[in-house]
């Protein structure tokens, strides 16, 4: 099936099998390796990308569903060399350790910020329920998200 999709602002016409998962198309066809396969069951959030601004688990999402939609991966978060405020906050707050969850955390936080002008800690925790990190203990991630929200407002 041919799909037309915009990935990180760039249009693509892609020929994908109906059973192709968005995660594999992003990683293998478009060489966007930022989204990771981990739990493969929509629990951990390592494969999170935004489709029309909404967070989805790319590991359990058919690529054909991206037809006519725009996809944002972590590679599309910065504008050129200028990091997104969330990325900057993650760097400065020490919210990154092994980095395997980082893309998912950033994109989930971005989706959250698009809905909350002034998010509370509870808002952040609510959104991050489905994003696992085994390294940081979460504290610096939550702090980074709140700091980025602060910078923006």
């Amino acid at each position: 099936m041919t799909i037309h999709t915009v990935v990180n602002g760039r249009p693509h016409d892609l020929d994908v099998a109906p059973h192709a998962l968005l995660l594999d198309v992003l990683r293998d066809t478009l060489d966007l390796k930022g989204a990771k396969r981990s739990c493969d069951t929509q629990v951990c959030g390592a494969c999170t990308v935004l489709v029309d601004g909404l967070a989805v688990s790319a590991c359990t999402y058919l690529a054909v569903e991206a037809d006519g939609r725009s996809v944002l991966t972590v590679e599309g978060l910065a504008e050129g060399e200028s990091l997104h405020p969330l990325q900057r906050a993650f760097v400065e707050a020490g919210a990154v350790q092994c980095g395997f969850c980082t893309a998912g955390m950033l994109l989930t936080a971005k989706a959250m910020l698009s809905e909350h002008d002034r998010p509370t800690r509870a808002d952040v925790l609510h959104y991050l329920r489905g994003s696992l990190c085994r390294c940081t203990g979460y504290r610096k991630i939550v702090d980074a998200v709140l700091a980025a929200a602060e910078t923006r407002s």
Partner: protein, 761 residues
């Protein structure tokens, strides 16, 4: 050296790999593509214990797109066994499958889908055997034997003295005694004793194990592997394939978490074997459920007794510790030995008797996991300490303080003297949690302390290169798995050589390029690899000073390095200038070498730890008495780290350690029933989420620059995890009067205990 202020070391600089990680550019093994690469899938035993009477891969091999299909019996062209303690683990099951999930056959094909389909064409006949699933079952008279006969020793130097008990499932017994514990206990005023259990838990590194293996046209093997021990993997493969070490190259990109799960060879032998059979590179990427079938923490049952004098002096400790090491020993025997050796924790105990057994069962092999056997014993001893405090009518903080080993005191005769001040950690933790003030209604507080040795003897080597433009390359084989070692090593080199951090590049571990490093585990990288980098950088520094002295006609002792230049009282020579003068052209570099190899000692384990990792945890909890659900409201961790090379990263390590510790304390347990693992996926195995982390979590450090590592640093990162379970359980006991001995402190377990205390009217 002058005591000038540190410019880079000690500062909370962001990690050097942060940008690549937040932009998605950091590469992990599964992100790599090698031309011609085939994809592997593994067929695993559905039985906990079964005779494998037939494996027929003919149909799988004939399937279009399949390059290789292997069963254990096919592996006649290599030594199919590996393992660091015992070489007891076959690459693919040979005649017997010893746990559910053991690899029985494997396929390499043009893509993962073809490989997976080909697995369905593998015909296997199993004859189920009686299985020993628990310590009790494995130790019972007449228990099914997981292994028959004695397996050959592995390559781990410390384990030359492995003592299996033939005819039983005990694959190693470790005994240690000092004084006369029995007599001391008989004479003690108060003796406390109990049996404590620690469940099997999995690391759940978000990146499951992954390898790409490629044999080249000359017969050399290259692997890109998610391993914490590239050099250990190299040894295993050299033995298996009878290839010189120099012909095996192990490259380690970023790791998506390790926590011990990626120590020693895991999937590398299978990937290398398949690549050889397929005649092309092979990628083998495990899933999370397969990680549950690869390694886990050794579960334990610890019977501990401690005797005190009425004045609170601890006089004796006795422990019988049985660890469930699963179907293959992996590094389990050393986990058992090393964990048990420090069973007495950071306390002065004149009379000690320790008896530990590593026990095979028909479950996922147990191996290293953050804490390396110590959490299991600290769970027992630190819980007992509070029981003793109650019996003695003493404050638990006070009783611990009274019995701490003092700075400079030998842990055991011939072993490393205590290099920290635990009373300072305890004092700060107690103060931060408000120990002297009563907690709010419905809250209880508890403390626990820990002491852990690092692996010894061990070796770390490093090379530091100063280039013609004054930039620096650090070659070292400490693996970056999230803990920040690449940043810390860069900071150390930048500090010694007086260059900005951005001028230092730390090369990813590659056994063909970066020098020997024993292992990235045991909290050793900062202290050992970091020290090697420091020495190598100092070697470069000394060469620079000599060059400058020669060209400036000034004595080297009057020179110093500052801001990328050698500075004399009246002159300044940039590194570029110094190198140009030295080589008579632009080109050429200075190479520094650092080797840290303390060697064997007379200490009981054959080596003396380079530092003691010491920490204290303090928890404040509440409990929903109707459901048994515990909430950790506040947690304070204080670690004695000597010096925090990077306080930001160290704080992150300890915060992560606390929350990981809360996982096995409150939530995690691999549950088996009828020979099957019930919860080997993240849908059913619950690790801590963001909302499980205490909102009030403080991680602090004691810094007295008294460590043997660079700038007085010691290792850190495991210390914060180990006190969590007993601190929480002690808090629960003080709040409710209920003492729990089995982890995790799940709501149901707590609820049962509360109900047993006060039956519902």
């Amino acid at each position: 050296m002058s005591a000038r202020p540190l410019r880079v070391v000690g500062h909370p600089v962001p990690r050097v790999d942060a940008i690549e990680k937040v932009t998605g550019r950091a590469r992990y093994v599964t992100d790599l593509t090698v031309p011609g690469m085939a994809h592997a899938k593994v067929l695993r035993s559905p039985y906990a214990h079964a005779r494998v009477t037939r494996v027929d891969v003919t149909r799988a091999r004939a399937r279009p797109g399949v390059f290789a299909a292997l069963a254990g019996a096919d592996l006649t062209w290599c030594d199919p066994y590996y393992g660091p303690a015992y070489r007891d683990r076959p690459v693919l099951a040979i005649e017997v499958a010893r746990y559910e999930g053991e690899p029985v056959a494997a396929v390499a094909a043009v893509d993962e889908a073809t490989a997976e389909e080909a697995l369905e064409l593998v015909d296997v006949d199993y004859e189920p055997l009686a299985a020993a699933m628990t310590l009790e079952e494995a130790l019972a008279p007449g228990a099914p034997l997981v292994h028959a006969g004695q397996p050959p020793a592995g390559h781990f130097a410390d384990l030359a003295t492995l003592r299996p008990r033939p005819g039983t499932n005990v694959c190693h017994q470790f005994q240690f005694a000092r004084g006369d514990a029995a007599a001391a206990l008989a004479g003690a005023d108060v003796v406390v004793e109990d049996v404590y259990r620690f469940p099997p838990v999995q690391h759940v590194a978000l990146e499951p194990h992954a390898v790409v293996a490629a044999w080249d046209e000359t017969g050399a093997l290259t692997l890109w592997a998610s391993t914490q021990n590239p050099y250990s993997v190299r040894v295993e493969l050299a033995k298996m394939f009878d290839v010189p070490l120099a012909r095996i190259r192990v490259v380690v990109p970023h790791l998506g978490g390790g926590f011990g799960s990626k120590t020693y060879a895991k999937l590398e032998p299978l990937a290398a074997t398949l690549a050889r059979a397929a005649g092309r590179p092979v990628r083998l990427a495990a899933s999370i459920p397969e990680a549950f079938q690869t390694v886990r923490r050794c579960a334990s049952r610890v019977a501990a007794r401690a005797g005190f004098r009425r004045d609170g002096t601890l006089v004796a400790v006795e422990c019988e510790a049985d660890y469930d090491v699963g179907a293959y020993a992996d590094i389990g025997p050393r986990v058992v030995q090393k964990g048990t050796y420090t069973a007495t924790g950071p306390y002065r105990v004149p009379h000690v008797k320790l008896d530990a057994r590593a026990v095979y069962t028909n479950t996922t092999p147990g191996g290293a996991f953050r804490g390396f056997g110590v959490p299991q014993l600290a769970w027992a001893l630190e819980s007992l300490f509070d029981t003793a405090a109650d019996r003695l009518g003493r404050d638990p903080v006070d009783l611990r303080r009274q019995n701490f080993l003092a700075h400079g005191e030998e842990f055991a005769p011939g072993d490393t003297p205590i290099d920290g001040k635990l009373e300072e950690s305890l004092g700060r933790a107690a103060e931060a949690i408000g120990w002297m003030q009563a907690p709010a209604a419905g809250r209880g507080r508890g403390v626990a302390a820990m002491l852990k040795a690092s692996v010894a003897p061990s070796v770390s080597e490093a090379i530091v290169r100063l280039h013609a433009d004054g930039s620096v390359t650090v070659l070292a084989s400490a693996v970056e798995m999230g803990q920040g070692t690449r940043t810390v090593l860069a900071q150390i080199a930048a500090e010694v050589l007086s260059v900005p951090l951005a001028r230092v590049t730390v090369v990813q571990p590659d056994t063909a390029v970066t020098p020997y490093d024993q292992t990235t585990s045991s909290s050793r990288s900062t202290a050992m690899t970091g020290r090697a980098v420091q020495v190598a950088a100092e070697d470069v520094r000394d060469q620079l000073l000599a060059i400058a002295a020669r060209h400036l006609g000034v004595a080297a002792r009057e020179l110093a390095l500052a801001e990328g230049a050698v500075v004399a009282p009246a002159r300044r020579l940039t590194y570029a200038e110094a190198l140009a003068l030295n080589f008579g052209m632009t080109g050429g570099e200075l190479i520094g070498r650092g080797v840290i190899a303390p060697g064997r000692t007379a200490a009981p384990l054959g080596g003396s730890t380079p530092f003691w990792e010491m920490a204290v945890g303090a928890a404040e909890v509440s409990v929903d008495e109707e459901t048994g659900a515990i909430r950790v409201e506040r947690y304070v961790s204080v670690a004695d780290v000597g010096r925090a090379i990077n306080p930001l990263l160290l704080e992150g390590q300890d915060e992560g350690g606390v929350v990981q510790g809360l996982g096995h304390t409150l939530l995690e347990e691999m549950l088996y029933a009828d020979g099957h693992l019930l919860n080997g996926t993240l849908l059913t195995y619950r690790v801590p989420r963001a909302d499980d982390a205490p909102e009030d979590l403080e991680c602090r450090f004691v810094e007295n620059a008294d460590g043997s590592g660079p700038f007085g640093a010691k290792g850190a990162g495991e210390g914060s995890l180990i006190p969590v379970s007993p601190a929480v359980a002690n808090a629960l006991a003080r709040l409710t009067g209920v003492r729990l001995r089995d982890l995790p402190l799940s709501p149901e377990r707590v609820w049962r205990a509360l109900r047993a205390r006060s039956p519902r009217a």
